[in-house]
Symmetry: C2
Subunit: 308 residues, 2 copies
DNA sequence: CATCGGTTTTGTCCACGACAAAATGCCGAA
DNA sequence: TTCGGCATTTTGTCGTGGACAAAACCGATG
């Protein structure tokens, strides 16, 4: 009959910011404006967020990434929010999830690390690197993202997936790293983008085509990208933007980088935040998906031949 | 004679937070208390930090990580701060940097990515994985950290180093991943710790000894670590803490995790933030350095034999 | 359909007070 | 000496509410 919830587990505002990605200022102003979240207060008047509210904030955060507005959804119940998310899940799932290996997805959900690693390795051997990335990893990553969005995955499960894929891709890329092929491509993300899989997938598509890729990983400041690109004899700078990246900021950052980069260095951008934004990005090659990466490479090579 | 600095390049408070890692609240309260930083204001009264002040804040940030107090150093000039940092560099350098491969360090500084990759690969082949990690990677990582601390490296150079080492270690670990050896070890870091090299180095030491390691990468919430460890038949949870991690918080977090973890699962912690803190961490095996990782493994195995 | 202006929404910034948590310094006991 | 408490200082984080720029939205016009 322990009906009373264990009250000691409550989050302070800093923990909520960390867990949801919503800045403290935003949490406070939402409380003022929309009446949610409505945390309890401790003896000193400090906010104490119960776990349910943190959970709901996580749902809201995901819906925001998909274009909803806080005023509309802060009032809704958790069930309604889940329903909205499920709609997105279905919309995306219809196109992509169908093509994903459900056995591997199960491994992620059930935390079967050894089986997941083996299954991925097997798929890689069977399909070859490029098809493995385009047909197995990418749909799986989308499915994992959607599942995580719907709260069906724990953080540790998403991490496990990301780590395993990294291990495999980095090995495979390293195994065929050529020397000195053209174009030379510098791959990285901007400081607010932490997702690394997009970069690795791009690298895995490009290296087998004979391009020389140098990845700086995530979170490189704009000025450092410019310096590294100009000083390292690069032909192309490639940036990756996940769905969570604010689209407007991506555009501004790209235009700024384009302006500061020597004209001879091409600028490529890929990921959900820049898809269908080609029109607003003169001088930037927007790479729509992984196959488009190869198209962009062909374009670059034929343009270079003509220029010679 | 372009003496006037280009005034348009000034950072707002959010950019400074991102570049220095100092929270906005802290930046404002330092200004109030110590008179530094002293940003200009734009037409709307918002802070505009000139690049020199951001640079100095970065120096201060590094000194804080090494135990200095803000009140003492906010008043100092950039030159004095650099001198303080140089002292730390020498102190650490005397012990460690001497043992590091200066040719490879030069590759990092000069941004010679191909040469760096080749040099690392060669060292790995020559030394074998464990000696490579202990004798090449670890000293090099320390040297890179110190150089970055002294401002001798760009962000992009540090990133490049980290990426190259990751590529190599992940390949090497993947190549000898056994199946089902004991102990089964779950490796990760807490949410505020973003450095991944410590984890990879530990994994590289352990896997050749026949241990089964599963890495969740960085930033796993405490509750997820507990769930993953308890649900995955693990014997040991291993956490890594870089020098930048607040020592006190590391202790609290470790004790909390220790309490929530089943007693049969051992808890290991390594990295600068927990070194020499064994006394305050009952129930936690503090791993002093990479060689101590092997000692800890031997201890675990002999303890298990005796228990059987 | 694309673009422009006006309106609403939304996130971020400001000031300054308060106070908990951490670091430091001091003192007495093992 | 070294260690463990205890008082004091330092330091970071949280609170409030007002302001306003930037973004999103919406409708009208080329």
């Amino acid at each position: 009959m322990n009906a009373a919830p264990p009250e000691e587990i409550a989050f302070n505002i800093a923990a909520v910011e960390r867990d949801t990605g919503l800045p403290k200022d935003t949490l406070r102003v939402w409380e003022r404006r929309y009446g949610f979240p409505a945390p309890a207060r401790d003896a000193h008047g400090e906010r104490q967020y119960p776990p349910e509210q943190v959970e709901k904030l996580r749902l809201i955060r995901r819906l925001l990434d998909h274009g909803h507005r806080p005023a509309k959804i802060c009032g809704a119940s958790s069930e309604e929010l889940m329903q909205l998310l499920a709609q997105h899940g279905r919309a995306a799932g219809a196109g992509e999830e169908g093509g994903c290996d459900t056995r591997l997805l199960e491994c992620v959900c059930l935390h079967r690390s050894a089986e997941l690693a083996a299954g991925l390795r097997q798929a890689l051997l069977k399909q070859g690197l490029q098809r493995f990335v385009a047909e197995t990893v990418a749909p799986l990553a989308t499915a994992v993202g959607e599942a995580w969005l719907r709260g069906e995955l724990e953080v540790s499960e998403e991490h496990l997936f990301s780590e395993q894929v990294q291990n495999l891709l980095r090995s495979a890329i390293g195994a065929q790293a050529g020397t000195g092929g053209r174009p030379r491509i510098l791959l990285t993300t901007l400081p607010d983008e932490v997702h690394v899989l997009g970069l690795l997938m791009a690298e895995a598509m490009l290296v087998p085509e004979g391009a020389s890729c140098v990845s700086l990983g995530t979170r490189t400041p704009l000025a450092d990208i410019r310096n590294a690109a100009a000083g390292g004899d690069f032909d192309i700078v490639g940036l990756s933007f996940s769905i969570a990246y604010p689209s407007r900021q991506a555009i501004d950052d790209l235009l700024e980088l384009r302006a500061s980069l020597p004209p001879r260095i091409a600028l490529w951008a890929g990921g959900a935040a820049v898809r269908d934004r080609q029109r607003r990005l003169p001088g930037v090659r927007v790479v729509g998906d992984l196959d488009d990466t190869l198209a962009a490479l062909r374009e670059w090579r034929s343009a270079r031949e003509n220029a010679d």
